[in-house]
């Protein structure tokens, strides 16, 4: 999804991310963003046994007889089972990348600050409307895991975990995604927030595993504006924040090739997402968080229209 210039968006009445990041408390930042975005309830995709009736279903032998509608049986001499709407709402897992590459930032804050604020915003928003929110933080492996809950104090735990500074060295999406698939057994929504600056070879396989497990997936790729533009005035010794490797690079010479490879990488990731039938958003850290939240809600609204299909070994090209 193309990103609009942050300045214009700020002028449109959203909170400027620079001003937002100046608030030290993560919880407060999330609250600021969420205010005004309370858009009503989700419709639960699952049926369960609760108070709100949805439909009748013919009884199959061997089913629990507690849910038979004996009155209907008296009237029609047929066995029917009553179905009710399940009020256990959305189970959402937030997967937040905490690798060192997320520590980069050409603005007054880093990608990690932005990603954590966005994750906190989502957590606040979902928790506010009664959904269960869980959290994975990862770098080369899963660091923190909080299963989805909707109880008092849970949100506070998530905030504390998100406030922890990134310590990881590398980004390996494979291992954390596999671990997330193992831990998140119950179907739900998984929101992956990462710069995705990792090889894409295994990404498709692990994402497919999550989709196959019945999860709905939304991917947010968080990038710094300077990572796209690669706008440095002169040659310098560039140091990889994860591997600490030094390359002497002349930006004027390397910029075109860098941007081409970066776009190829993003296109490959987007193709994987499209093939697997879930949403992919690229978010630049200069963009107001409200718009990122809108992106999320839009993808949720379009959910019903998307065709879920089996992956067909899509190639990045």
């Amino acid at each position: 999804m193309p990103a609009a210039p942050p300045a214009r968006l700020s002028e449109a009445g959203f909170v400027d991310p620079k001003a937002l990041m100046a608030i030290r408390n993560l919880e407060l930042r999330a609250r600021v963003v969420v205010e005004g975005f309370w858009n009503g309830l989700h419709r639960s995709p699952y049926h369960g046994f609760s108070v709100e009736f949805t439909e009748y279903r013919p009884y199959s032998p061997g089913e629990d007889t507690r849910y038979l509608d004996w009155r209907l049986y008296a009237r029609s001499d047929r066995y029917y089972v009553k179905r009710f709407e399940d009020e256990t709402n959305l189970r959402c897992h937030l997967l937040v990348d905490q690798s060192r590459s997320m520590g980069y930032g050409s603005l007054t804050y880093s990608k990690s600050d932005y990603a954590r604020t966005f994750a906190a915003t989502l957590a606040w928003f979902l928790h506010d409307q009664g959904d269960a929110v869980g959290l994975f933080t990862f770098d080369e492996r899963v660091r923190d895991y909080f299963p989805p809950r909707h109880r008092q104090g849970h949100l506070r735990q998530l905030m504390l975990a998100l406030e922890r500074e990134p310590e990881g060295r590398a980004t390996h999406l494979g291992q954390p995604l596999r671990r997330a698939a193992e831990l998140a057994r119950k179907r739900g929504l998984i929101v992956l927030i990462s710069d995705l600056l990792a090889p894409v070879d295994e990404l498709e396989r692990h994402l497919a595993r999550l989709v196959a497990a019945g999860h709905e997936l939304v991917v947010f790729q968080v990038l710094d504006p300077n990572e796209l533009a690669f706008d440095f005035p002169r040659a310098a010794l560039f140091q990889d924040m994860e591997s600490r490797q030094d390359y002497f690079i002349d930006p004027g010479v390397a910029r075109a090739e860098y941007q081409r490879q970066l776009n190829d990488h993003a296109a490959a990731v987007e193709a994987i997402c499209r093939n697997l039938g879930f949403a992919f958003h690229r978010v630049l850290t200069g963009r107001p968080l409200e718009l990122a939240l809108l992106d999320f809600l839009r993808s949720r609204a379009r959910r019903g229209k998307l065709i879920r299909r089996r992956p067909q070994r899509a190639s990045p090209s």
Partner: protein, 678 residues
């Protein structure tokens, strides 16, 4: 420009460091962290820019700082300022300073020292100027520079040796500091032909014992060009122990024993000469302790205490002379009865106890001529007053107790005034209100434990105005402000005026515990009971036992007789032993001993003299060429020390460093401002 320590100039090679660092920084100038280099390929920097030095001014400052530091450490000096040119110099100046203290008496040490002195005298050339000095407690000139110059050239050495042969070690202590500084002052400014001397050598020939006194060396301003050579003798001598009898304070005799640091023995025996029994004492090496000496056999008033068990033998005897009990006569100028407690005499007769130092005899109405102190309890006749006044003028002291208004004429007569009014003070009683504890009479009470006089009530006292012309001092006043005790000079002597008596009718003074010490102090202060010392050290003057009269006949331990007028101190205490002074029919004895420090014969640490600023030169045995090279170096050091160019170089290095910091900071700020924000 010359350098005293030119090898420090090699430090200037460190300028390669800054040049190298300026090149290296070129290659890795700035490091920018970036999220991931997975889409980037390394591109080598262009080789042409690598060899280019940046910030040349900064580099120059850094190099200059290093060069200035290296040059400062190399101690530069301008040779043109060298006022001691070796090539044109006259002969050298040499002082042979020979130790003749008592410690040189140890076996073979003196012969060794004399041989060394003769060697130096024999080496002196025709152009050299030589002086020979000896020292123990005092330095003495044996042959001065002028005498040497006056002697025929070919007879100089023989004449100097002849004078050396007449010298032998004394029994005195060692004042090494005084000897060195005095000898150094003997160097003449130029040679007789007007040329500057080639060298100024001071050869110290001594056993350099640790007991030598080094006073005056610290901070002494040594003449230019003087080098002190040390010729240590007696290094193979055994360790030593010594003793010294202390001036006795009471009936027991205390002796201080010292054991040399290099001693291997710690058990010694103390016994009086001629007495078989004694005491064993244990003293670890390097320590000095005081022991109680064995009892002197009954009837003996002097003796020789012997220390056995040590290795050295020159200081194993200490002489003792018992202090003479001094008779003191106090004249009481009143008609009082000795058995009437209501009168002052009753108390005066009992207040001075006999001590080991003196016996006090109170003579009621006694003659004044042989009295040391006088108590005047009441009015005197005009004749008596005149006699007492004359006696006071001779340097004596008397205590006048004011008994009432009738004492006024006596007081005025004694003070030589027209009229002094004495009145009886009114009131119930008086206390002491103000006491000057700095005054010698009250000084012993200057302690919170003894300074409370408030329990002494004065039922009656007399008031009198002290005329300002008397220059009186008032050690104590009553609480009404009138003087309780006044000290008034009369000629060479003093009159003490007490405004109240000590009888029960006048005050509680006599029943107070403060009364005896107060009277004792008055007696001491008057000079009447000053006890004479009996123990002296060699070289110390013995005060004359009598101050008036005829001659005093002194006798030294070797039997030599010396007649001195009364009051003249005896200074020929050059031998340890018992000295006697015969004053008419009274003979007094004094013991003179070797100073205990002289027994501490362990060698002085080698660097002690250097630490005290003595300009030490090479120890003997150097060749002429080595000595000349050394001298040239010493002269260079002297010139360099005067010019001190290194200080300016250090200041320059600091200034350059300051400039470098400012310039470096400015450049860093400029680069930081130009650098991209990561």
């Amino acid at each position: 420009m010359n350098f005293l320590t030119p090898w420090f100039l090699l430090g200037a090679l460190a300028v390669a460091g800054p040049i190298l660092f300026h090149l290296i920084r070129r290659a890795a100038r700035e490091r920018l962290p970036f999220s991931s280099l997975m889409f980037l390929k390394p591109a080598p920097p262009r080789a042409t820019r690598r060899r280019k030095l940046e910030h040349l001014l900064l580099l120059l400052l850094r190099c200059l700082c290093l060069v200035a530091l290296a040059a400062a450490f190399a101690r530069p000096f301008l040779a043109g300022d060298n006022s001691l040119p070796v090539a044109t110099a006259a002969g050298r100046q040499l002082i042979v300073l020979l130790d003749t203290s008592a410690s040189m008496r140890r076996g073979g040490v003196w012969e060794e020292a004399r041989a060394v002195a003769e060697k130096y005298i024999g080496q002196a050339g025709a152009a050299d100027q030589v002086a020979v000095l000896t020292f123990d407690r005092q330095p003495r000139t044996l042959a001065a520079f002028a005498e040497w110059a006056a002697w025929p050239v070919d007879e100089r050495a023989a004449l100097a040796r002849q004078r050396l042969a007449s010298v032998s070690p004394s029994w005195m202590g060692t004042a090494l500091g005084l000897a060195l500084t005095t000898a150094a002052e003997q160097f003449p400014g130029t040679s007789p032909d007007g040329k500057p001397p080639e060298r100024r050598d001071l050869v110290l020939i001594s056993d350099l014992q640790e007991g030598a006194r080094l006073d005056g060396l610290q901070g002494h301003d040594w003449p230019v060009g003087v080098r002190v050579r040390i010729e240590r003798v007696g290094q193979k001598q055994p360790a030593n122990a010594g003793l010294e009898i202390l001036d006795p304070a009471d009936n027991s005799i205390h002796v201080r024993v010292t054991n040399s640091r290099d001693s291997k023995r710690d058990k010694f025996h103390l016994a009086w000469a001629g007495v078989n029994t004694g005491v064993d004492v244990y003293l670890p090496p390097g320590e000095t302790r005081t022991f109680t000496a064995p009892k002197l056999p009954a009837g003996m008033t002097s003796g020789v205490l012997q220390l056995s068990g040590g290795e050295g033998n020159f200081d194993n005897l200490s002489y003792y002379a018992a202090r003479e009990v001094q008779p003191v006569k106090v004249s009481y100028l009143g008609p009082d009865s000795t058995n009437d407690p209501a009168q002052l005499l009753y108390y005066v007769q009992r207040v001075f106890p006999a001590t080991v130092r003196r016996t006090v005899q109170v003579a009621p109405g006694g003659p004044l001529n042989d009295a040391a102190f006088a108590v005047i309890p009441g009015p005197l006749t005009p004749d008596q007053s005149a006699t007492v006044r004359e006696w006071l003028k001779g340097g004596k002291c008397a205590l006048l107790v004011l008994s009432g208004a009738s004492s006024g004429p006596t007081l005025s007569a004694l003070l030589g005034l027209e009229e002094v009014s004495v009145t009886e003070a009114a009131g119930e009683y008086a206390l002491l209100g103000e006491i000057d504890f700095k005054h010698p009479i009250f000084a012993p009470f200057d302690d919170p434990r003894f300074s409370d006089f408030t329990h002494i009530h004065f039922w009656k006292h007399r008031r009198w105005e002290i005329p300002p012309s008397l220059q009186a001092r008032v050690p104590a006043r009553f609480d009404d402000g009138s003087p309780m005790l006044a000290q008034i000079p009369v000629g060479k002597g003093f009159l003490l005026v007490l405004a109240s008596g000590w009888t029960p009718a006048d005050s509680q003074l006599a029943v107070s515990s403060k009364f005896p010490p107060l009277m004792e102090r008055m007696l001491d202060w008057s000079g009447a009971g000053t006890p004479a010392r009996a123990q002296f050290r060699t070289g110390e003057a013995i005060p004359s036992p009598v101050s008036s009269g005829g001659e005093v006949q002194w006798q030294k331990p070797d039997g030599k007789q010396v007649a001195l007028p009364a009051g003249a101190d005896f200074v020929e205490t050059d031998l340890p032993g018992i000295y006697s002074a015969l004053d008419g029919k009274v003979a007094r004895r004094f013991a003179v001993n070797l100073p205990l420090e002289e027994s501490r014969t362990a060698p002085l640490p080698q660097d002690e003299l250097g630490r005290l600023g003595v300009p030490l030169g090479p120890v003997g045995g150097q060749s002429r060429v080595e000595s000349r090279a050394y001298l040239r170096h010493a002269q260079d050091a002297e010139v360099e020390g005067r010019q001190k160019i290194w200080r300016w170089l250090i200041v320059a290095a600091l200034a350059i460093t300051f400039g470098e910091v400012i310039l470096g900071g400015w450049l860093a700020r400029r680069l930081a401002a130009a650098a991209p924000t990561p």
